[in-house]
């Protein structure tokens, strides 16, 4: 067992990383060793990254112990770069996290300064000056490269900056020079954010944290009102929204809600979240309250403004959309479904059930109007999975049964229509799939069934009978 991470007290005693635990205990018998838990570390880092969303939407993870924040265009909200860095570090310190940070125009340089330098804000002119005295490890290189460079006496980054580039590239590969250029800001290095960046977002920072659901909803309505003008400028309405709630102690909750139509109306957006918050009620622990509320528009679509007419026809459509939104927000998208016909003659494939929230705005859905092959009548209720039926007597070779047993009950057939032969789709089921012969059957009590025979008499395997639906 070896040490992987140390706190300040341990460093003061003189322990090192990669030291054996036995050796460390020899130095300090009272050593408190905690087993490493990379998953928990990762969760903590994710939590911090979520919390960092308060500064910028562009937060990227860096390895196991770092975060990149792209603060382009965000600094003025916090009173400048220096104030922002101060704010981040002091808030993290208050939370009990020992963090170091640096701001510069190159991610590579910030990485090096934060880890090996003194941190702070680096102006563009003094980049080289600050980088030069740092050890070569500050360039994010592999350990072998660092060791090889040190063997050659190239201990500081300054040595590399002034060394001829061609021999370095030949000996250590292009990667070294790439890292060097990135640290100097000569090569562009994009930061890939953890989450998709919202196309629009607005937020409210509160002096006094809020806890009550009504307050949250009221504020959501206000934020939605401030988003309305931006949506109008773009001529769009939001289809998917995300409410981000920053709790005082640093925890971040995200509540997503979808709409069946592009929305702009603040009251309807707030109504979406009213159902959603009701649904996630138990998971949303307000604790000491939320200090920042942010509303993101994660997906938006063209909004066709329609003029109200006197007949109120549009009102009806709006109320249907509002109902679909409310139900989908509260009970989930899959709860409410609409049916769409497909061009397939296999009964279970002829109808697709799709969430109503997806298909409502597109009007007709994926349906084609020309579904008009000749077919027999179809049952009112269909079993999602056909149920096996025991048939005692059937006309051979392809007649209806005389009587059958289904769910432990004997049915005597009084009338029947059929067969209607449906071949399976060879392009899906393969050429081996047998055809089905469907019969409409009425038993002597007036129940009407749709049963089918798979396979033919006189062939192997013997035919089997199934119950597939019930007629009214």
């Amino acid at each position: 067992m070896r040490l992987t991470a140390l706190d300040e007290a341990a460093e003061a005693i003189g322990l090192r990383k990669n030291q054996a635990v036995a050796e460390a205990r020899a130095i300090c018998p009272k050593l408190d060793v905690v087993e490493e838990d990379p998953a928990a570390d990762r969760r903590l880092l994710d939590g911090i990254a979520d919390w960092c969303d308060r500064y910028t939407p562009l937060v990227a993870l860096d390895g196991r112990d770092g975060l990149f924040l792209d603060i382009t265009g965000c600094t003025h909200l916090f009173g400048g770069e220096k104030a922002l860095l101060q704010d981040v570090l002091s808030r993290l310190f208050q939370m009990g996290i020992d963090a170091r940070g640096a701001i510069s125009s190159a991610p590579g340089l910030s990485w090096g300064i934060a880890r090996f330098g003194n941190g702070g804000v680096i102006a563009d002119q003094e980049m080289e000056l600050v980088l030069s005295p740092l050890p070569v490890a500050a360039l994010r290189l592999e350990e072998e490269t660092v060791a090889a460079l040190q063997k050659l006496g190239l201990k500081q980054v300054g040595d590399l900056i002034h060394a001829p580039r061609a021999p370095l590239a030949r000996r250590f590969g292009a990667h070294l020079l790439l890292r060097l250029d990135q640290a100097l800001g000569l090569d562009e290095e994009p930061v890939s954010p953890r989450r998709p960046v919202a196309s629009l977002s607005a937020e409210r920072r509160l002096a006094e944290p809020v806890q009550a659901e009504e307050d949250i909803l009221h504020l959501t309505g206000q934020i939605a009102l401030s988003l309305k003008t931006s949506l109008e400028e773009r001529g769009t309405g939001g289809r998917a929204f995300e409410l981000v709630l920053f709790r005082v102690d640093g925890r971040v909750f995200r509540v997503a809600a979808g709409a069946s139509q592009p929305l702009r109306d603040p009251s309807r957006i707030a109504a979406l979240f009213s159902e959603r918050l009701h649904a996630v009620h138990d998971d949303l622990d307000a604790g000491y309250g939320f200090e920042i509320l942010r509303l993101n528009v994660t997906r938006h679509e063209a909004f066709d403004a329609a003029q109200e007419d006197f007949a109120g026809d549009r009102q009806k459509h709006v109320s249907l959309a509002g109902f679909v939104d409310r139900v989908s927000a509260r009970l989930g998208e899959d709860c409410l479904q609409s049916f769409h016909l497909c061009e397939s003659h296999v009964p279970e494939r002829a109808v697709i059930a799709a969430p109503a929230i997806r298909t409502l705005s597109s009007g007709k859905g994926p349906e084609k109007s020309g579904v008009s092959w000749s077919r027999g009548e179809r049952p009112l209720r269909l079993f999602p999975r056909p149920e096996a039926v025991e048939v005692f007597l059937a006309e051979v070779p392809e007649g209806p049964p005389e009587s059958f047993r289904w769910r432990r009950m004997l049915h005597r057939v009084s009338r029947s229509e059929g067969p209607e032969r449906l071949a399976m789709e060879w392009w899906i089921d393969g050429p081996e799939a047998g055809a089905r012969d469907y019969f409409r059957i009425e038993d002597d009590t007036g129940h009407r069934f749709w049963i089918y025979r798979e396979g033919l008499y006189g062939q192997l395997p013997p035919p089997r009978w199934f119950m597939h639906g019930i007629f009214a």
Binding site: K316, S319, L331, C335, A353, L380, R381, M409, T445, A472
Partner: protein, 308 residues
């Protein structure tokens, strides 16, 4: 003594309020106002009702199925679930046709157990039954509470021509209070709500009507030259019993639904289906002749209905 008239006035006001909520004719105090309204409004003040096109039934229903309230349709066992669903959907088709613009959808709030036992509504079957599958929304809530919330919200939104709520049996959480709540909501919104109680017992509820639906042998297909096609299975036929209505006499009749015309017709009574068979015939072995009789078994043998 001064308080007595005050209290009485309060009492009258409360009575009036209750009567107004229930939609019943208001007694005594508001009678005059009612008369004035009746003079002005004439027949328009009549509650909207859907005529089923059968004179005998419509008379018993005082004009038809109410378009602004709760009606119950019941099946006695899950085997009959499709028949009752068929009758409810036939009424829905009529209501949808009567609704303005003909574009308002139907909402079907399904019950999980019934869906497993009797199948889920099938869009092509709906089409064959006279409904437009595009204007049909299917909701599958997980719990009864969710189903009740859905029904209430749907009725309130006013977006649906009719809302169908399917319930299995007589759940304890859906008693008189809940049905009364739904009924009041439906009345306030002026929208019809059909409660489909599958495999349920008769139960006191707030519904104005209750039908018991059983399947009956189908009509025979007619050929173009008006002759019958022997042995064919034509339009669906339902055996209806009007169990609850303002009319005290129970009414039983057989109706044929014509999906093409979207119309009910009275059907002729075909061969009476045989009585229900039982799983255990109930007869015991005959007593032995030359030996002492075997000891009597404890208890009685009951002829249970065969399990469905």
């Amino acid at each position: 003594m001064v308080q007595a008239p005050m209290a009485r006035e309060q009492l009258f006001a409360l009575r009036e309020e209750i009567a107004r909520l229930e939609g019943k004719p208001v007694p005594a105090m508001a009678a005059a106002r009612q008369e004035a309204l009746a003079e002005r409004g004439g027949r328009d003040r009549e509650k909207p009702r859907l005529s089923l096109g059968i004179s005998m039934l419509d008379e018993a229903l005082e004009g038809g199925v109410p378009l602004d309230g709760l009606s119950e349709i019941r099946s006695s066992c899950l085997r009959d679930a499709t028949a009752s669903a068929g009758f409810a959907l036939a009424i829905s088709a009529l209501m949808q046709r009567q609704a303005a613009a003909d574009a308002t959808p139907i909402l079907w709030i399904a019950d999980r157990v019934t869906a497993m036992e009797a199948g889920v509504p099938y869009a092509l079957g709906l089409k064959d039954f006279g409904l437009d599958p595009q204007r049909f929304l299917h909701a599958a809530p997980r719990k009864l509470d969710e189903a009740l919330w859905l029904a209430e919200t749907a009725v309130e939104s006013g977006a649906f021509a009719v809302t169908l709520l399917e319930v299995k049996g007589n759940p304890a959480h859906f008693g008189l209070t809940e049905s009364r709540r739904l009924s009041l909501r439906a009345r306030a919104a002026g929208r019809p709500l059909l409660l489909l109680r599958q495999s349920g017992e008769e139960e006191a509820s707030s519904a104005a009507l209750r039908f018991l639906v059983e399947p009956a042998p189908a009509a025979i297909r007619l050929l173009p030259d008006r002759s019958m096609l022997g042995g064919s299975i034509g339009n669906p036929v339902f055996r209806l019993t009007l169990e609850k209505s303002r009319n005290p006499a129970p009414l039983s009749l057989i109706l044929e639904w014509n999906p093409h015309d979207r119309q009910f017709f009275p059907a002729r009574e075909q061969a009476r289906p045989p009585l229900k068979r039982t799983a255990h015939p109930g007869s015991r072995l005959s007593a032995s002749l030359n030996r002492p009789d075997r000891p009597q078994e404890m208890g009685a043998v009951l002829a249970f209905d065969q399990a469905s």
